[in-house]
């Protein structure tokens, strides 16, 4: 008790800022955290902040190109936007030389490059921030982040209004003028041509809540999945949670007329269909499908393949033939999130042992398939022993962003990677933050990251009014 009183007085008088014991040792085995060694970055990315993971006390870091250099005498590297811009514009490669003072002399500890790509990256990304939890949620929001700075602004947050869940946000191929997200309770909110409206998605008893949207490039149609989703908790599996669909189908909504388009192939009773995605030309719909089994007993037998059908939505024509693109089930795997590159050539997807909710599968990895040459492309550089899951292509097809839990196995972080014209991936890098240890401290997961070609206007007030109207009894 006496000890408490002394500490209290000291606390009041000194307002002592306790120096945190570093958890970096637990988080990172690499020389720097985040690991930006030998990554490829776009010129217009925000400054990379990182911390030198060493026990040496006297450190000097020089970041230089042929024409410009910055010297920092701290372990925690944080560069101003002005200096960073000068640095990235001054060459093709940034060399990072790290020195430690030993016996009065500066000794080089490490030297590594950061490559700069000429390929531009979309200026913004959107994502949801949510605790990586079970069924209960609290504060969450959909945010947009400027990639050339650290600015993060809310598109829609639930903290200021009565309690609701927001999810499944996506733009029409990065177009900031057209996007959709789902609110629960309430429904889907569509923004198109500057107008907000609530999509009436209560079509029948089965089709009420539409998720996993994918825009048709014309902007007139959105494919959705209709799912009955169940969650359970593992008693001792490191995957912690298992989520599965008791049933799922795919539907398409004509957003002009709110007409629901159903295609029998996508609504089979004998199989689960989910994760629809349109091809860039809108002539094909890719999706994941698995034979339906008794759940949860046979959960490990649920193996999703990636298939496609051809369609002409304007003329209401759909092919009956289903092409199997990735037959993961024959290799005892399952797939999710098929995403086609903007040039239509590459199919990027997530592969895991079974089921469809890959974020809770540590073995989930990204895979890529060349649709033209009909061969798999090695993207193992993107993967880690932890989960890699949701991914999106940039509008020019030169960058991807994806979710990864490689830092600690639970909190999802965003990684960006460059793709060259042959489909070769560069080493991914963590979304830069102002503070190098931000990702360690951040207590929310990043969910559904997507590129956006411009800043999404602030519709907060209109969204709030619409949501309020839609949740009135």
């Amino acid at each position: 008790m006496n000890k408490y009183w002394i500490l209290l007085v000291v606390g009041f008088l000194c307002a002592c800022n306790q120096t945190p014991v570093s958890v970096l040792e637990q988080y990172s085995r690499t020389f720097i955290y985040p690991d930006y060694e030998k990554v490829t970055i776009p010129r217009n990315i925000a400054p990379l902040s990182f911390i030198i993971n060493t026990t040496e006390s006297d450190i000097k870091t020089i970041l230089h190109t042929e024409n410009y250099s910055i010297s920092i005498k701290e372990k925690d590297i944080s560069i101003s936007l002005r200096k960073w811009k000068k640095l990235v514009m001054s060459g093709d490669t940034i060399w990072v030389d790290v020195f430690a003072k030993k016996n009065g002399d500066w000794t080089q500890l490490r030297s590594f490059p950061i490559f700069i790509s000429e390929d531009e990256i979309d200026p913004y990304i959107t994502y949801r921030l949510i605790a990586p939890g079970y069924e209960v949620w609290n504060s969450m929001g959909i945010y947009q982040r400027c990639l050339s700075s650290y600015e993060e602004t809310p598109i829609c947050e639930n903290k200021s209004m009565t309690h609701y869940c927001i999810n499944c946000h996506t733009t029409n191929h990065g177009n900031p003028e057209e996007f959709i997200f789902h609110q629960r309770p309430g429904g889907s909110i569509l923004v198109k041509d500057g107008i907000l409206k609530k999509l009436n998605t209560h079509y029948n008893e089965k089709v009420q809540s539409l998720v996993y949207p994918s825009w048709h490039p014309s902007g007139n149609y959105i494919a959705f999945s209709v799912n009955k989703t169940v969650q359970s908790v593992h008693s001792k599996n490191t995957n912690r949670i298992e989520v599965w669909d008791l049933w799922s189908d795919i539907v398409i909504v004509d957003v002009r007329t709110n007409e629901l388009i159903t295609i029998p192939t996508l609504m089979s009773e004998k199989s689960f269909e989910t994760f629809p995605t349109f091809s860039p030309d809108g002539k094909k719909l890719y999706f994941c499908t698995a034979r339906s089994v008794t759940l949860p007993d046979s959960i490990t037998e649920v193996k999703y393949d990636i298939c496609s059908i051809s369609l002409d939505l304007d003329n209401k024509m759909y092919s009956k033939q289903v092409d199997t693109i990735i037959r993961a089930s024959s290799n005892n795997y399952s797939t999710s999130f098929p995403r086609i590159s903007p040039n239509g050539r590459y199919l990027l997807y997530t592969q895991h042992e079974y089921g469809n909710f890959s974020i809770w599968h540590k073995e989930a990895d990204l895979k890529m398939y060349d649709l033209e040459e009909k061969r798999a492309i090695d993207v193992s550089i993107l993967n880690s022993p932890e989960t890699e899951s949701y991914h999106t292509w940039s509008s020019n097809g030169k960058w991807i962003i994806f979710s990864s839990r490689r830092d600690d196995g639970l909190y999802t972080r965003l990684y960006l990677a460059h793709v060259n014209s042959e489909g070769i991936m560069a080493k991914p890098f963590l979304l830069p933050q102002k503070n190098s240890t931000y990702s360690i401290i951040q207590d929310k997961s990043y969910n559904i990251p997507e590129f956006v070609t411009g800043k999404i206007k602030n519709y907060n007030v209109e969204i709030e009014k619409l949501l309020k109207k839609s949740t009135k009894p």
Binding site: S232, D408, I441, E464
Partner: protein
């Protein structure tokens, strides 16, 4: 002041301790920047900073009394006229602030912001001799400053300034209403351009309350009374002038205030939650005897969370089955409350699950409870997350939570100890907090459900804690066939010895419908005799009330009495 300290210490000390449990104040630059970079951030920061010390006995009481006293003094300085005999307004405002403090959905920043507002008003009060233009400029600047450091108190500030202007300068060709006009316009603009949510947080008093809860009228009382006090205190003083003796004036005011306190305080002090707060305090400090002592003295009602703590205390002391019915019981939910997704239930269930070795659900409830926090989490749920993640080998995740706790005043020491376990599992296993908890790893992985403890019990016959949980749960639920099945399951195991009287009584209760119970199990003669006597008395009663009356004195702790006379939820 002393009276308030005494009252706080006597009646509300566990509420004060509980407030500390509902937040996590992180002592880092980043957290400070996060709070201070938003309007109202400073008062929120100060509030959270102070609450972290509420863990220490008396500190919370003293701090609150100091805050309220300073508030009262400031109000007095603001409203006093020549005659200083009237003190009713400041006392009422302080009283309502105190009532608000007793509500966990009203944040401490609501009192600190009020104080900041009063200080700004006092400064403004001193410049009444200046020209109106200068006064207005100072009002605008002060309002802006208050908005940044103490939103939404700039609203109160503008309203009270208007009252001061009216009092000191009259209508003044309408100029005295300018502050009210300004804040109304601002509020309107915020509502239109930033939305209702922003209006609630930054303009309305809702900003100092939990946004999930619509504030009751007591939240508005202090805000309404202040301008009323400014305007009407002179009138009150005039009225009081009619009474010559100041002693009588004082007595009248004390009686009036006393009446208000006596009438309103029991209605609005959240007293229904005080038992839970007290039990929670004991549980977090593992004072199981204190829990049982409290429950004996104050038999619990239907609050399942409190019953869970009571029964957890019995289980921790290893006397669940032996002493189950010596305490109030209300069905199986008294052992394991139904999950209703609220924080108090999370606090309780995480402990219950951890005690019984259901690490997955302990983690689930801890996580889901923690998610509800408006700060970085709750200390108890974060500690549970550290423990469960360490047990599951999720060291990186555990490290994150350990980091949060290391930045706190009260939990750094505990967190430092856990940090060592990241690299030293052997020592961790010998820590009493972890001893025996790794047994879940020996069992096969499966999906957990709400009856997980039953599943775990079925997988491990020798686990006495789980055995008692299952059997007691079935008995409390009056599921005799279920009890008989499980009893039979355990009876085959040689480790099932020293069978408590409760189980024998239950067997006797099964006997009339399953006669071979008496031959299958050797029930002691004294239990048989007791049952015979009980049955005789029971059958001779004319009605239920009479039976209960006759049986109460001798058999109130027996299972038969519970079976016949305790109503449980689904009956």
């Amino acid at each position: 002041m002393l009276f308030t300290v005494a009252m706080l210490q006597f009646r509300y000390q566990y509420h004060i301790f509980f407030l500390e449990q509902l937040q996590l104040f992180i002592f880092t630059k980043e957290y400070a920047m996060q709070l201070l970079s938003t309007p109202g951030g400073l008062v929120e920061y100060i509030g959270e900073y102070l609450i972290q010390f509420f863990k220490i006995n008396y500190v919370g009481n003293i701090l609150i009394v100091i805050l309220l006293t300073i508030t009262g003094v400031c109000i007095r300085k603001l409203i006093e006229d020549k005659n200083k005999s009237c003190f009713i307004f400041e006392c009422m405002i302080v009283f309502f602030l105190f009532v608000n403090f007793l509500d966990i959905n009203f944040y401490l920043k609501g009192i600190i912001g009020y104080l900041f507002c009063l200080i700004a008003l006092l400064i403004y009060y001193r410049i009444q001799t200046k020209l109106f233009k200068i006064r207005l400029l100072i009002v605008l600047l002060s309002g802006l400053f208050l908005f940044w450091i103490a939103a939404p108190f700039q609203t109160l500030f503008f309203v009270v300034v208007c009252a001061i202007e009216l009092k000191r300068h009259g209508l003044n060709k309408g100029k005295s209403l300018f502050p009210l006009f300004i804040i109304t316009i601002c509020g309107f603009l915020v509502y239109i351009f930033a939305g209702e949510g922003a209006f609630r947080i930054y303009i309305n008093i809702d900003g100092v309350c939990s946004l999930r809860i619509i504030p009751g009228w007591t939240k508005y009382a202090a805000w309404i009374l202040l301008p009323v006090a400014i305007l009407f205190n002179p009138l009150l003083e005039q009225t009081f002038k009619l009474i010559r003796k100041s002693l009588i004036k004082t007595i009248i005011q004390i009686l009036l205030l006393g009446g208000i306190v006596i009438y309103l305080l029991p209605k609005y002090d959240d007293n229904w939650s005080l038992p839970f707060k007290q039990l929670h305090y004991y549980a977090t400090h593992e004072k199981w005897d204190d829990i049982l002592g409290y429950c004996k003295e104050h038999p619990l009602n239907n609050n399942y969370n409190c019953l869970n703590y009571q029964n957890l205390a019995l289980a921790e002391k290893g006397i669940l089955a032996d002493s189950l019915l010596c305490y109030t019981q209300k069905g199986k939910y008294g052992l394991y409350a139904p999950w209703d997704r609220i924080v108090p239930t999370a606090f309780v269930l995480q402990k219950v699950c951890y005690h019984y070795g259901d690490i997955a659900f302990a983690q689930k409830y801890a996580f889901e409870g923690n998610v509800n926090s408006v700060t970085m989490g709750f200390p108890e749920t974060l500690k549970m997350l550290v423990k469960t993640n360490l047990l599951q080998g999720q060291k990186n995740v555990a490290a994150k939570y350990i980091y949060y706790l290391q930045q706190t005043f009260s939990y750094k020491k505990w967190a430092d100890k856990q940090y060592l376990y990241l690299s030293d599992t052997l020592t961790m296993r010998n820590d009493p907090e972890y001893k025996g908890k790794e047994r879940f790893k020996e069992k096969e992985n499966h999906f957990t459900y709400s009856n997980e403890l039953y599943i775990l019990a079925g997988l491990d016959k020798k686990d006495k804690k789980l055995r008692d949980f299952v059997l007691c749960s079935l008995l409390l639920d009056k599921d005799l066939p279920g009890f008989l099945n499980w009893f039979d399951f355990y009876n085959k195991d040689t480790s099932f010895q020293n069978i408590p009287d409760l189980y024998y009584q239950a067997l006797m209760a099964c006997a009339p419908s399953v006669p071979d119970v008496l031959t299958r199990y050797s029930v002691p003669e004294n239990i048989k005799n007791d049952f015979e006597m009980y049955s005789m008395v029971y059958s001779s009663g004319r009605n239920s009330a009479e039976k209960q009356k006759w049986l109460h004195s001798q058999y109130k702790d027996s299972y038969w009495y519970y079976f016949h006379f305790t109503k449980i939820e689904h009956e």
